[in-house]
Symmetry: C2
Subunit: 369 residues, 2 copies
């Protein structure tokens, strides 16, 4: 028998003879991965992005259409969400790091629940994203310039090829919305491959996500760390950031601390306008680093770089707090939590890491119903 | 008040004072997108794929590691699953078409439930996949050959960079499984970009999925149609196929029908060994086409190609049945269902399309508990 679940019969719903009803604890036991998840709504969408229109004219009768006159919708983020039955007020937005995608937060490599499931069980609405130009958002707007003509997959071409209509007209009675926003989503859900990393493109899409869903808490990881700070300077809807092993930090112009030399190169701080930096003082921030970061300079660059980042994180925390903010550093070994990699949220002890996040969110009143 | 949901208190679970319990219909109302989804388990994994090892030696102390001696895990599929509380015996595996990914089956472009949610509500276990070299499975095993050296993202390099250990040794007490299969998953969840289409690579991964999850029903769309037939010749675990607008068909050697000339070119059948074709006679098959396919030759190539495929589908159905199989063609307008595009499962009437799938699965006893 699954804990928190029992069978009963409720005669008041419909007429199905063999209908089975389930009594579920919607929020009772976030620790128990055996209890069912109860999801009020789940789905996915593309958000943000740009549109490039190639010069020329498109003819739907052309048997070998070129990019001429066709659009390319790209550089959006892909977002997958689940909303529990009684969600807490602030959702969690989870942003992966470099060369990764939403899997970061999903089932761990060893098959256990990741933060997506753990915090859904703890009654947070969850938004996991694939940043532009990767994973489910790998449709770059530079497609036309970078790839050979792909007539059949040109946007105006597939309008006809996939029988929405004879471009630009819908077929009468076609079972497809005439809302331009729907066509926009439909075009964006194609995936080609893809483009160079561009921080502005990535931040643009995440800002669009926050503008769409409203106030939320942002989790970042590694390469998305610095972009998370930038995102928070551009939207008022970031109400907290927990950054797992961020790779970079912002400082007010004129207050950038000295670089930290390491065998992997110098760790630097990035200057931003004081007014932008000030926006990082408006919400709670926690920065989390794991174990096996050298305490002293190490000749192993792959490890020593983390020593530099951890040191720069300390300076960032100090700068935020000196400007009236509320930032803290959680170096896990200092809390007696050992062995964590660059991916604490999917490590073997990730329930412990989740508990530390829960503790922080509660302390900062970011978990209110 | 959400239909099928009521609040009550169950004192028997735990001691939490404010614990809220929810009475949910686990399966009562598949039509009602307002009722919560009850998910016993959900998660994701990478399946299938290959490993390439670059010649040379890898040194974790190298500040600028090259591909030398590093592996590349790629060409797997990515699979996302949800298992309802009382699943029917056979899951649905949903395979997208060309230039698409799992979004095909997710939230529709206009924001309604897609087949993923609709059939989860109807108590099927759902597996949606991104085929190799696209979406969340865009890590090609040819990465090393196609991309400039990316030392930091080489597999042995990130073992140290991300602090699992000093390659090849784990750090003592590291919070990461020492199971090689776990490391395999972890490496595969990176995404680079990507590679040419290769039917064998794609089918290999889907066969691996069926070998992993056991007997299941396969839904295909467009370009995955012909790969679905090939998959069923290579695993005994395909227990039914519903193919939405497949692009290609197999025939026994010596029985390939004449080509169908269209203004988009000739529609051809693909020969396979008679013994392979015979495997397609062991389970029910339904092939579904939508509306606005020309009944007579049309000068518009983008439309006329569908006339050729629909005609070839008729011949395929006849061939399967002539060899003792159980195939049928569902041309939606012939059932009085009009306006469907190449994406019937996400069209405005997709609940009607889902009902037709439910009807077929029931008729063929593929929906048994």
């Amino acid at each position: 028998m699954v804990p928190g679940l029992m069978w009963c019969v409720w005669g008041g719903v419909g007429a199905a003879a063999a209908m089975s009803l389930t009594l579920i604890t919607a929020s009772a036991d976030g620790q128990n991965p055996a209890s069912p998840l109860v999801v009020a709504r789940q789905g996915s969408f593309l958000v943000g992005g740009t549109v490039v229109t190639n010069p020329g004219t498109f003819d739907p009768r052309d048997p070998n259409p070129t990019p001429s006159g066709q659009t390319v919708h790209g550089d959006h983020a892909y977002v997958q969400y689940q909303i529990p039955v009684s969600p807490r007020r602030l959702p969690l937005v989870m942003w992966h790091g470099g060369a990764q995608f939403s899997k970061t937060w999903e089932t761990t490599p060893d098959g256990r629940d990741g933060f997506q499931n753990i915090f859904l069980r703890r009654d947070f609405s969850i938004y996991i994203l694939d940043q532009p130009r990767s994973g489910r958002a790998s449709r770059t707007a530079h497609l036309a310039a970078r790839q050979p003509p792909q007539g059949r997959f040109g946007e105006q071409a597939i309008f006809t090829q996939f029988r929405l209509g004879m471009w630009p007209d819908f077929f009468p009675g076609v079972q497809f919305s005439h809302d331009p926003a729907v066509l926009d989503q439909w075009w964006r859900q194609q995936v080609p491959n893809t483009d160079e990393l561009d921080q502005k493109v990535f931040v643009d899409a995440t800002v669009a996500l926050f503008e769409k869903i409203g106030p939320a808490i942002l989790l970042t990881h590694s390469a998305s760390g610095v972009m998370g700070w930038v995102t928070a300077t551009r939207t008022d809807n970031v109400k907290g950031i927990v950054a797992y092993e961020p790779g970079g930090f912002l400082f007010p112009e004129g207050e950038v601390p000295p670089t930290v030399p390491t065998s992997a190169g110098e760790t630097i701080g990035t200057p931003v306008a004081g007014s932008a930096f000030q926006k990082l003082t408006r919400f709670p921030i926690q920065i989390v680093y794991g174990d096996n970061i050298p305490a002293q300079p190490s000749p192993i660059p792959a490890l020593d770089g983390w020593r530099g980042r951890l040191e720069m994180a300390r300076r960032f925390v100090a700068a935020v707090n000196a400007h009236g903010g509320d930032a803290e550093l959680l170096h896990l070994p200092a809390r007696g939590v050992y062995g964590n990699t660059h991916f604490p949220f999917s490590d073997l002890n990730n329930v412990r890491i989740a508990d530390l996040l829960t503790e922080f969110l509660h302390k900062k009143k970011l978990d209110v119903p």
